[in-house]
Symmetry: C2
Subunit: 515 residues, 2 copies
Amino acid sequence: MAVSCEGWIRTLSLSPPTLQDNTSDADRLKYALKKKLNTDSVDMDLSMLKQLPFLLREWNFAVRCVLIKDKNRWIVTGLTERNSKRVISGLAIDLGTSRVVLRLIDLASGSSLSDLAFDNPQLAVGPDILSRAHACDQPGGLEKLNRLIVDGLNQHIEKICRSCGLTVDDIYLVSLSGNTCMTHLFMALSPHWIIREPYIPVINTPGLERASELGLHLNPCARIIIFPNIGSYFGGDLIAGILFSGMHHSEQTSILVDVGTNAEVVLGSKNWLIACAGAAGPALEGGVTRMGMMAGPGVIDQVTIDPESNEIHIHTIAEEPPVGICGSGLIDLAAHLFLNGMIDIRGMFVPRKCGNRLTKASGEVIFEIVPAEISGTRTAITISQADLDSLIRSKAAMYTILETITATVNMLPKDLATFYVAGTFGAFIKPASAVSIGMLPDLPAEHYQSLGNSSLQGAAQVLTACDSLDEIDRIRDKITYLELNVNQEFMNRFSAAKFLPHTNRSLFPSVKVSA
Amino acid sequence: MAVSCEGWIRTLSLSPPTLQDNTSDADRLKYALKKKLNTDSVDMDLSMLKQLPFLLREWNFAVRCVLIKDKNRWIVTGLTERNSKRVISGLAIDLGTSRVVLRLIDLASGSSLSDLAFDNPQLAVGPDILSRAHACDQPGGLEKLNRLIVDGLNQHIEKICRSCGLTVDDIYLVSLSGNTCMTHLFMALSPHWIIREPYIPVINTPGLERASELGLHLNPCARIIIFPNIGSYFGGDLIAGILFSGMHHSEQTSILVDVGTNAEVVLGSKNWLIACAGAAGPALEGGVTRMGMMAGPGVIDQVTIDPESNEIHIHTIAEEPPVGICGSGLIDLAAHLFLNGMIDIRGMFVPRKCGNRLTKASGEVIFEIVPAEISGTRTAITISQADLDSLIRSKAAMYTILETITATVNMLPKDLATFYVAGTFGAFIKPASAVSIGMLPDLPAEHYQSLGNSSLQGAAQVLTACDSLDEIDRIRDKITYLELNVNQEFMNRFSAAKFLPHTNRSLFPSVKVSA
């Protein structure tokens, strides 16, 4: 996605003032820009005005301007000498609850200079949104959480700049995408009402702000584009994902699913978009991937089971001795257990097929994935019947949400042209496994597209396309948010989806279970 | 000028959020305002956003909003409870080189609450623009001058608020008009290039800024409207004067003259405006009213001479014993000396007529206005031939400027429908006297209109009319600035105007000199 965007950077040679042409310095520059940009509104900050007469004369009135467009208004966010070789850079921020990723971009070429990821320093206060939102109700709590993330960003921004031979002053434009709560904490806005019925954010459309006002140490005139949200459960990270996927430009109907703590889903085409978030489904409490551990060295991320020998083959991250299993590994495991008849359509372990891998401890049925002897932790890696039940409830909720949202437009999940899977989950999951357990619809593998970190990608894209501020507003305004009513119909669908792959087998023709 | 301006203040009762209507607090307010104002752009500051959810809930979603419109964008600068009785106020500032005048205004009714004037604290650094601009070339000079005026404003703003039972937090909107240099010093912009050829300001159109960014202690979201200028010699105070006069709405051609250190002139109608400033005329060096002292108790402001007895009748300010004479007194004096034949058409004292009031000291011819016995200073109050010559050069320059600017549109000064006289000079001068010496054209007295402090009045008017920001921009953009070329034609006119009332007596038919 390395598209140069002429619009952010313009070079100008102004005619120096004379007695006959005595327009002021600022208005001289503004007039020239208005003509070049074909606009009647160009603004600049007071701090830039203060330096302007000195700079223009030092540079013989030949300048390079960095600009950003906010609706009808262009704002000058930076000035250099016309022929300066200094890199004019932008910064995309994916503000995740757990991880924050920065991407430094050369605004002239649109190319990426460097990425840097770090743990969200707010983890010290609470692991998830809920605990952090509650911490904000303590005196000074919001300020503390805000300072943690702003300080963390400043530290790492300086680091990423240094790694590229730049300074923070070389950053003129920032874009930030994050979920609604994280965006509020970053802006020091109270998340109190986000987590309480009827779940109201302080703001849906933050738009363009001065980066300095939000405490970021960048070029003093730098602006920050903060992605809008649809509500408490559908954040700017998803809007960034839609932007990056391009589904809002397509004639055909696609779906985008982001599975983190919640499942967030957008369905649509160039003409319409509808969205919903899975937090409304009671079965999703605790999250779709609750049981899986975070990815890390030694974590099992792929599982296959030999249909002949029932032998389990695992792959671990960094190929270290196994220490646990993550979401994608679990789905692989469940898929292969099912395809090999080791669990039945209700997800119950089949003792006859599982053999001595199945044990009972404190009344719980336990299945051994990796024996203690070859485990990195020297204890067996296992999964209980209860864990499996939980996974099945989660996959059922996922499918029910997909079915519900597609049903609102009289479609079936299997009719979708493209199925975008966003986030870490999307990057590692094997669609075939998710299809096998009936978590995702039975589409040909090539219909599935993993978007990777689409929040970061969308944030980066905004920095390289001149009309993106308008575009993200248009995306937001186009979305119809669907409250998932957990009514009888939803519960019926959910019950039908609690079987493997589904009560209605005709929905999953490709799934073949060996006898 | 007490016009209520609905546009700045709007009351709203928002429907409280529900699960079905879960728009954020800020967007809920913005949508309601957009609908009410018929606009697609409403912005608010981050500091307001931070308080918004608490305030809306405390007030049951019923609010009173203070707004300001900047081109197509409305900005919320204040919020109170819907039925709050707190006064929402605005502040007009006339930022004069010598005096600063504040006017506190109730924005709901448009009525004036109080005025407060104080000496410009920058007088401590330099008495005039030139000396202050030079002081800015010293290290820290600009910062010092800026701090002086900003601190002075803050002190007196607090004072005027207190006198009305208000706090500075009750001020949501400010307008400031001043000459170009004073405006720059207030904004901490360097006046270095204003006073050096080709006389270039940093900015012509400051527009709308946050008052806090300029160091003013008001409501945190308050905005300030800073009047634009045409150039170094034609400042925002004049644009404010034009706005207040209303000459830009008139079908007929009027003129507005502001005489301070320079003479600034605008000529025009609803269709066109041309302007010039007298600093370009060499005879004006030192100023039109150089000799006059500042108005104050005991200063002679009116003079008449009995045509029979040649006795001089004076009026002093506050009717104190006379201590000196100010500009309007001098013009009265010169007019009556001339009308009584005590000075001739060249402005030379006529010894036969002046009698023993005329003496000679150190080779100078001196005329006694007030004898030592009745003077408040115990020394005679006098005027020398050299003083009179200087006054005549000034009046000639004034008339030449008027003649030159009217000639550019093929008119004569005597053809003008209305002659607005602005500033202190305009408030005290007797037009008949100025006409008698040929300083102002021979128009019937009713054509002259004194505007008083039109800079303050214009600034106040902006606060009570919703489209005034646009209107002052339109005025500025309409003005054609005329560089006064001191060419042969100008010098010829100037020479002709150095006689009393003029070489061409037919221009002043009403002036009758007694034998």
